[in-house]
C-alpha cells in the first residue's frame, strides 16, 4: 500500500501559482525525497498534507483513505523554520505538543523517557528551551516531531543546524523509524543525504513535478550512456582516437594520468569505446558514470529553464 498519494494537486495564492497539477506517490515504509529549488512549491505541498491549508483542486489519500482530520495524529511534522516555546520546560513542552496530536499524557511521558534516552538528553527535562543551544533545541524539536508515534513523518531540512556527529545520530534514527514501519518524506537541499537515505524522489520546480522515481532508476535515467575512464598516456592521442560516436564530456589531468567522462552515442557500447582508444593509451579503469543527485538536480532544473 502507498502511504501517500497526492493526485493532481493545484494551489494558487493571490499573486502566484504555488502548485500546478502536482502528483506524487510515496510507498509505505520508505524514505521519499521531496526536492526542488527555493520557492518551487515544496512547503505549499507539505502544508497541504499537514492540512494547514487546503488545495484548490486535487485529492490526497493517506494510507488508502481520503485525507481528513483524523490523520492529524498520524503525521509528524518538522518544519524548516524550527520553533518551540522559549519559556517552557523541555519535558512539559514535548508532552504538550504530543497531547495536541492526540496522545495521552501518560503515553507521551513514557515515550519521551525512551526518546530522551536514545538521544542521550535525559537530564534536559526541566530545562527551559531558551537555556539550550541551537543544536540542543533542534534535537528536542526532532523528538517532539516523532513523540506521538506518527506513521508519516514529514521532515523539512532535518539535518540543518546539526554537527556531523548529531547528523549521523539523526540519520540513524530516521533509518530506524523506517525499519519500524514509518514512512518519511524528506525535504532537503542536501543531495548527498538524498543519495544515502532516500528510496524515491520527486523534484518540484516552478510549481510542477519535473522528475520522479526511484533514486537508482533516476540516476540510471540521467546516466545517459556516459562512462568514466582513467588512463595513462597522451591526451591528444586519446581525443584523436575518438570518432563521431563518442563525445568527451569532461576531463581532469594530472601529468600523464587522465580522468575523463565520455558519452557514447545510441547503439554503441563500452567495448566500442575501448576498442577505439586502447591502441593510444593504457586504460586503468573504466566504469559507467553515475550522475550525483546534485548533478541531476542542476541538469533537470536548467533544462526546465531552457524550455520556458
Amino acid at each position: 500500500m502507498n502511504a501517500l498519494e497526492a493526485k493532481a494537486i493545484s494551489k494558487s495564492y493571490a499573486d502566484h501559482v504555488a502548485l500546478n497539477d502536482v502528483s506524487i506517490t510515496v510507498p509505505e515504509q520508505s524514505v521519499f525525497g521531496l526536492l526542488g529549488p527555493n520557492g518551487a512549491g515544496k512547503t505549499s505541498l507539505i502544508r497541504i498534507i499537514n492540512q494547514i491549508t487546503g488545495p484548490d483542486s486535487g485529492e490526497i489519500n493517506l494510507f488508502g483513505e481520503r485525507l481528513s482530520e483524523k490523520h492529524i495524529s498520524q503525521i509528524g511534522y518538522l518544519p524548516e523554520e524550527r520553533g518551540l516555546y522559549k519559556k517552557m520546560k523541555v519535558g512539559e513542552q514535548s508532552i504538550y505538543l504530543a497531547q495536541l496530536k492526540g496522545m495521552s499524557k501518560q503515553e507521551a511521558k513514557k515515550r519521551l523517557d525512551l526518546w530522551f534516552e536514545r538521544l542521550e538528553i535525559g537530564d534536559w527535562w526541566n530545562k527551559k528551551v531558551e537555556e539550550l543551544s541551537k543544536g540542543m533545541a533542534q534535537k528536542i524539536q526532532f523528538v517532539t516531531t516523532v513523540l506521538h508515534d506518527p506513521k508519516l513523518l514529514i521532515l523539512d531540512e532535518p539535518f540543518s543546524g546539526f554537527d556531523p556527529i548529531n547528523t549521523a545520530l539523526i540519520r540513524k534514527e530516521i533509518m530506524r523509524l523506517r525499519e519500524e514501519g514509518s514512512t518519511i518524506i524528506l525535504s532537503t537541499h542536501n543531495m548527498a543525504s538524498v543519495e544515502e537515505i532516500c528510496d524515491n524522489i520527486a523534484l518540484i520546480d516552478k510549481s510542477r513535478v519535473i522528475l520522479e522515481g526511484q533514486v537508482q532508476e533516476v540516476q540510471q535515467r540521467y546516466h545517459a550512456n556516459e562512462y568514466q575512464l582513467k588512463f595513462e598516456g597522451n591526451m591528444i592521442g586519446f581525443t584523436n582516437a575518438l570518432w563521431t560516436n563518442f563525445e568527451l564530456i569532461s576531463k581532469k589531468s594530472k601529468e600523464d594520468k587522465h580522468d575523463v567522462i565520455v558519452k557514447i552515442s545510441e547503439g554503441k557500447r563500452l567495448n566500442d569505446l575501448l576498442n577505439a582508444v586502447t591502441s593510444e593509451v593504457s586504460i586503468i579503469e573504466a566504469r559507467p558514470h553515475i550522475p550525483t543527485m546534485n548533478d541531476i538536480f542542476i541538469t533537470a532544473v536548467n533544462k526546465e529553464k531552457e524550455k520556458s
Binding site: 494547514i52 503525521i75 518544519p79 516555546y85 505538543l97
Partner: protein, 447 residues
C-alpha cells in the same frame, strides 16, 4: 482531552504561575484597601468649629427665656460647654439657609413626637466627623431622657428602662439629599469601567504579544499542524480571559476578606479605640457594631446602597463581552505583524474606540442619564464601560441591559469571525508588514 482545553490550560497556567501575576494579584486589593482607608481618614479630619442649631419642635427640651431673648435648654448639663462646639436652640426650623450662609454648621431637627419616632434629623453641608455626630447623639439622648423623666412620676427601675432613649440620627446632606449617593455610586461605576478598560487593555495586549511570540518563534506552524488556527486563537483568548477573571476573583475575595477582618477587629473594639484616639474621641463609649459604624460613614454608607450582586455579575458579563471584542482585534493585529514594533499603525483602530469609550464612561459618571451615556451604553465598543456606570447609578432598566448585552454578543461573534480570518492567513505570513488593504484581502482568502 479536547485540544482547545489543552491550549486554554497551557495559556492559563503559564501565566498564572508567573511571579508578576502573583505579585499583582496580591498587591491589587491591598492597594485598593489602602486607598479607601486613606480616603475615610481624610474625611474624618474634622477640626472645624461646630455651631449646631437644635430645633425643638415639641418644646420638650427648651423654654424661652425672655430676658436673654433666646431658647435655653431645660437641662443645661446635657449640653456641656466645649471649645468650638456650641449648641443653639430654637422651636421652628429656620431652614437650610442658616447653613449655606455660614452662620451654623448643622441643624439638629428633633422631630415631632420624638418619644415615639426617636429620630433626629441632622442636616449639614460638609460631612461632620463621627466624633461630632456621636457627641450630638449622646447629648440629645440625655436631654430627651431627662425630659421624659421629668414628666414621669414615681420612677422605678422598670420605668427608667422604658424611659431610656436610643435616638437615631438621620443624617442628611442638604446639598445631596437623603441617601442620594448618585455621585458616589457613579464613582463606583466608573471605577468598574476603569477596571474593565485596564483589563481589556492589559489582557488584550497579552493576547497580541502571545500570538506574536508564537509567530516569531515559529512554533505556530507546528501547532497548526495539530489544531485548526481558530482553535489556537480561541484557546489563547479564552485562556488569557480566565487569567483576568482569576485576578479579579481573587481581588473580590481578598477585598471581602479585608472587609470581614476590619469588621471583626472593629466589633472587638480594637480598631474602634485606635480610631477614637486618632479622632480625639474619648474612649470607653459603647461599642458600635460594624454595620452601624459603616452607615455612619458617608463614604462607606453608599457602598451599602449598591446592588453588589448585580454589579459584579454584570461586570463579569460586560468584561467577557468587551474582552472578547477587543482581544479578537488584538489577535488579528498580532497575527498580521512579525514583531511588536510593527503593531503601532494597526493598533490605532483598536486604541481609538477603547480610549474614547473610557472617556465617555468617565463623563457619564457626572450625567448617567445624559444622551451620550444612553447612546454609548448600546454601542458595543463602549457599552462594557458605559453600562457599568449606568448600572451603578441605577439609571437603567432591565430591557436596556438585555438589549445592550444582545448587541454586544452579536458584535463579538462577528468580530471573532473576522479576526479568525485575518489570523488564519497572518500567522503564516512573514516579511512585509501588511496595510489595511492587505488585511481586507485576507478576509476573503480561502482556507
Amino acid at each position: 482531552m479536547n485540544k482547545v482545553m489543552l491550549i486554554i490550560k497551557r495559556e492559563y497556567l503559564s501565566r498564572v504561575k508567573k511571579r508578576s501575576f502573583i505579585i499583582m494579584t496580591l498587591l491589587g486589593p491591598l492597594l485598593f484597601a489602602g486607598l479607601m482607608i486613606a480616603a475615610v481618614f481624610v474625611t474624618q479630619a474634622d477640626s472645624a468649629d461646630h455651631k449646631i442649631m437644635v430645633v425643638d419642635n415639641d418644646g420638650l427640651l427648651t423654654h424661652y427665656d425672655a430676658q436673654r431673648r433666646a431658647y435655653i435648654p431645660n437641662c443645661v448639663d446635657c449640653f456641656p460647654e466645649r471649645d468650638g462646639f456650641n449648641y443653639y436652640f430654637t422651636n421652628i426650623n429656620p431652614g437650610d439657609s442658616i447653613i449655606t450662609d455660614g452662620d451654623y454648621t448643622m441643624i439638629a431637627d428633633v422631630m415631632n413626637d420624638v418619644y415615639e419616632t426617636k429620630t433626629v434629623e441632622l442636616l449639614y453641608e460638609s460631612v461632620p466627623s463621627i466624633s461630632s455626630t456621636s457627641r450630638i447623639e449622646r447629648d440629645l439622648e440625655s436631654a430627651v431622657e431627662r425630659a421624659k423623666v421629668m414628666s414621669a412620676e414615681n420612677i422605678d427601675y422598670e420605668t427608667y428602662k422604658r424611659l431610656k432613649v436610643d435616638l437615631r440620627l438621620n443624617k442628611i446632606n442638604i446639598e445631596k439629599g437623603e441617601n442620594a449617593f448618585e455621585q458616589e455610586r457613579a464613582g463606583i461605576g466608573s471605577g468598574f469601567a476603569i477596571i474593565i478598560f485596564f483589563f481589556i487593555f492589559l489582557f488584550g495586549a497579552y493576547v497580541m504579544r502571545g500570538i506574536i511570540e508564537e509567530k516569531t518563534s515559529r512554533i505556530v506552524e507546528v501547532i497548526i499542524s495539530s489544531v485548526r488556527p481558530f482553535q489556537l486563537m480561541m484557546g489563547k483568548i479564552i485562556g488569557i480571559g480566565f487569567v483576568a477573571m482569576t485576578q479579579f476573583l481573587i481581588w473580590v475575595l481578598f477585598s471581602a476578606l479585608i472587609w470581614i477582618v476590619i469588621g471583626t477587629l472593629f466589633e472587638s473594639g480594637m480598631l474602634q479605640d485606635t480610631m477614637a484616639v486618632s479622632q480625639g474621641m474619648s474612649s470607653g463609649q459603647p461599642n458600635l457594631d460594624f454595620e452601624t459604624y459603616i452607615q455612619q460613614q458617608e463614604g462607606f454608607n453608599m457602598l451599602l446602597s449598591i446592588n453588589w450582586t448585580l454589579m459584579l455579575s454584570m461586570f463579569v458579563v460586560y468584561f467577557i463581552g468587551g474582552y472578547l471584542l477587543y482581544s479578537s482585534l488584538f489577535a488579528a493585529v498580532g497575527a498580521a505583524v512579525d514583531n511588536e514594533t510593527d503593531t503601532q499603525q494597526l493598533m490605532t483602530p483598536i486604541m481609538l474606540p477603547l480610549f474614547f469609550s473610557y472617556a465617555i464612561a468617565i463623563m457619564s459618571a457626572s450625567n448617567p442619564e445624559g444622551f451620550a451615556a444612553r447612546i454609548f451604553s448600546f454601542v458595543p465598543f463602549s457599552s462594557p464601560m458605559v453600562m457599568m456606570v449606568r448600572i451603578a447609578t441605577d439609571t437603567v432598566t432591565w430591557w436596556e441591559i438585555m438589549l445592550s448585552i444582545g448587541i454586544l454578543a452579536v458584535t463579538c461573534w462577528l468580530m471573532v469571525k473576522i479576526a479568525a480570518r485575518i489570523y488564519r492567513v497572518g500567522i503564516l505570513m512573514y516579511g512585509k508588514r501588511p496595510g489595511y488593504k492587505e488585511l481586507w484581502k485576507w478576509l476573503f482568502y480561502k482556507a
